[in-house]
Amino acid sequence: MQTIHDTIIIDGQEIPFTKGQTIMDAALAARVYIPHLCHYPGLTPSGNCRLCTVDIGSKSVAACITPAAAGQEISNNTSALNDARKSITQMLFVEGDHICPSCEKTGNCKLQAMGYYLGMLDEHFPQFYQHREVDASHARILLDRGRCILCDLCVRASREVDKKNVFAIAGRGTEAHLIVNSSTGKLADSNIEPGDLAANICPVGAILIKEQGYQVPIGQRIYDQHTIQETGLQENSVKKNDD
């Protein structure tokens, strides 16, 4: 079947897209990075983190859920948008408990990496200090809700890839929290396994595989060596080779 190519323009660069692609899909395929945390190639996009907000004329839209349309003139890498992205990243930091130096995920954490990428030097907003439960019931997998950024990736990964539907998000506003679909609400009573995508997709240190936190020394971890821009583009090309 012949694919019909049209183009959109991102920051002056012409980028082809095929019908059905979002702005994010088209951008990543052309190796143009649009910052994102809740998007993962191959999973249904959600649009909750809002880091990928781009401007089309006077309108702002989330690139991961907005269909590409011929002739769109899109601003992405502008200082105004990156400032807003920095604020959104800071919001995620203060909403949860992100004490990076004491977190197993440090160096491999996308939230932290986003902070680096956007030049975030402080948390700016006052901390929320919310009470959120830790679930250590599972022998191999830890769930620390204090670090959850509600990106919904584990929910989608479990539903769409693992076909297990282990997670859901419950509660409104700042009371939103991750719940486990099991008789007790505990991870131990769910059928999650360490090899599941849901157990490994968490961008932050909310879902961790136990007993391997320090196998890679600090200093040699992903974001000690790469930017989130590099890994974000890499993730997409890996996915493409899978297809």
């Binding site: 809002r50 807003a84 604020s87 203060v94 539907n165 859901a168 409104r172 009371e175 679909n181």
Partner: protein
């Protein structure tokens, strides 16, 4: 085809998930983990979906409520702060209870809730879901007595439950006579094309806020392909200060159902829903009786008015306390038995709505207008209003005025005219369209309410000179923080930050930096949120900064101030160590 997600398959009445949960809540005064498991089995749903629904809606509780469960409205018009008195606190003191906590003996629980749409009825509350209006300290004392004596609600003074609708101004819709079935009869004679053309000619636009052209919406849905088409009436009316739908549901239910049926005739839908906000549950018996009457008259059901292929019926689904469910895609999620989280749009409901099928969603007033238009004609409607806003608009006027109530005007009436008519004097500001709308001051009172000037879904809140606008802003900020669905970062965190920032300013700890801060946050919400709630949640702050800068500035500290009270911050530590001696305090 029945969707397993929505209806209990083992139950022939196909109860809706929200209704099943409501019934359990009625029976056990809360929804326990066991109940959730039971419902999950009955509906063949993951227990996590049931749990997330229970957690989403304010009227569901996982801890037992009191046998008398009281919710005070915290709206600026029907709220518990009346003439400088705190009615909720008063009742709590008399019953020796803390808000949000059920009394140990299980007799009573008291909490607050977002506007219950009684803004023209004085301070109001819901007791076991039924409104009690025109509260005052006297009545509060009597309520405390009745509760203490465990007097069943049936024996409380009837007059307390009265909701008196007062119409002060009538225009097109509230003067025209409407006979059940008359518009349908006409439509059946003229056919679907001509019926749709009549709606098109009227230039009717949605009354629920967004103002989308109604004829166009019907046409888009009609043209969209799908297994089934649906018509939904949005009776969620959650915008604080709005109560015109409450009045219309009471007085024009026939025209509303007929509007839905006409829409079904045009679009080919066979099923319709009214999504009624939980706060209006008390209207249910009335609505059901009108529906039954219409079924008996052959205006609903199979072969409507003898037409061989025209089948349509309406179900009422009652919400459970969530403002966001007024947003059309969140409403559909709720209809589908899920938390009310707005969908990604596009696709829009007209092509992918309920169960992914083409769906028209219209406001109560829109559907009533459509029924009248089809009965009269497009020109009848088009004859009044302004160039871009055809017809009349029904306003809910409340706040600091002599004559709160329902006012219907041709579109384009000036704010000053409304203020004169409702007997408002010494007005400081008017909030048009509710907290998500526009705050205007005296210099703008010549503005007109219509789509091309000040658009409004009907809320008209009057604030006199004596009102503290900072308190109003804090009230609105709390409302949005409470009602944010929590899906997207800017709104979930941003509404909370704005609320905290206004509290800080009111606390006397704000500096000029805080004004910069709230302005930036407001712009971030406007541009980066996922849905209309986030987009509009900071309007009141931006309006106040622009039109009433004194609101915030008067409370600012000129010099460096700690952003929090250090001694207060030690409270936690004092509680943990069980100390309260002088040494446990800072000076």
């Amino acid at each position: 085809m029945m969707n397993p997600c929505l209806h209990n398959r083992s139950d022939p009445t196909h109860e809706h998930l929200l209704h099943r949960l409501y019934a359990l809540q009625q029976q056990f005064l809360h929804i326990s983990p066991e109940s959730m498991h039971q419902v999950a089995t009955e509906f063949n749903l993951p227990v996590s979906q049931v749990a997330s629904v229970v957690a989403f809606y304010s009227f569901f509780h996982t801890q037992p409520c009191g046998r008398f469960h009281i919710l005070f409205s915290n709206c600026t018009s029907c709220g518990y702060l009346e003439d400088g008195q705190n009615l909720m606190q008063m009742l709590c003191q008399q019953l020796q209870i803390t808000p949000g906590k059920t009394r140990k003996d299980g007799l009573v629980s008291i909490d607050e809730t977002s506007c219950i749409g009684m803004c023209d009825q004085g301070a109001s509350l819901l007791i076991n879901g039924v409104p009690v209006t025109r509260l005052n300290p006297d009545k509060i004392a009597q309520i405390a007595h009745l509760i203490t004596a465990e007097t069943a609600l049936a024996y409380w003074p009837k007059a307390w439950f009265a909701v008196n609708d007062v119409v002060h101004k009538r225009s097109l819709l509230l003067t025209a006579h409407f006979l059940a079935g008359s518009a349908l009869q006409k439509a059946l004679i003229h056919g679907t094309d001509e019926t749709l053309a009549t709606v098109m000619q009227s230039d009717l636009c949605g009354r629920g806020g967004a103002g989308f052209n109604t004829g166009e919406k019907w046409q888009l849905c009609r043209e969209a392909s799908g297994n089934a088409h649906y018509v939904v009436c949005n009776a969620d009316e959650g915008e604080p200060g709005t109560f015109k739908d409450r009045f219309l549901l009471r007085s024009q239910a026939d025209a509303m159902f007929e509007g839905m049926t006409l829409c079904a005739f045009v679009t080919g839908a066979e099923k319709g829903f009214v999504y009624l906000r939980g706060e209006y549950r008390y209207l249910l018996p009335h609505l059901h009786s009108v529906l039954n009457q219409r079924r008996q008259q052959g205006l609903l059901g199979q072969h409507i008015l003898g037409h061989a292929t025209f089948n349509f019926d309406i179900e009422i689904v009652v919400g459970a306390g969530a403002y966001i469910c007024g947003e059309e895609s969140a409403l559909i999620e709720s209809l589908e038995g899920k938390p009310g989280i707005p969908r990604i749009r596009p696709p829009f409901p007209v092509t992918h709505g309920y169960l992914g099928q083409p769906t028209v969603i219209n406001n109560v007033e829109t559907l009533i207008a459509a029924a009248h238009i089809i009965l009269q004609d497009g020109a009848w409607f088009r004859a009044i209003g302004t160039e871009k806003s055809a017809g009349s608009k029904i306003l809910s006027v409340s706040g600091d005025c002599r004559l709160p109530g329902i006012y219907e005007y041709p579109f384009g009436v000036s704010i000053q005219q409304v203020l004169d008519d409702c007997g408002a004097q010494n007005v400081q500001a008017v909030q048009i369209g509710g907290p998500s709308g526009t705050l205007v001051g005296r210099t703008d009172f010549n503005c007109r309410t219509c789509f091309e000037d000040l658009s409004t879904a009907g809320s008209f809140l009057v604030f006199g000179q004596q009102r503290n606008l900072l308190a109003i802003n804090r009230n609105f900020a709390r409302f949005f923080a409470h009602e944010s669905c929590g899906f997207c970062t800017p709104c979930r965190v941003g509404t909370q930050l704005l609320k905290n920032n206004l509290d800080k300013i009111a606390d006397g700890r704000g500096t000029s930096q805080d004004l910069v801060e709230i302005k930036q946050l407001s712009h971030l919400l406007q541009r980066h949120s996922h849905c209309g709630l986030g987009h509009t949640a900071a309007n009141h702050i931006l309006d106040s900064l622009q039109r009433f800068p004194q609101t915030f500035e008067a409370n600012l500290k000129q010099h460096f101030t700690a952003s929090f009270d250090l001694d207060k911050a030690l409270e936690n530590a004092r509680q943990i160590t069980q100390r309260n001696d002088a040494a446990a305090h800072l000076d």
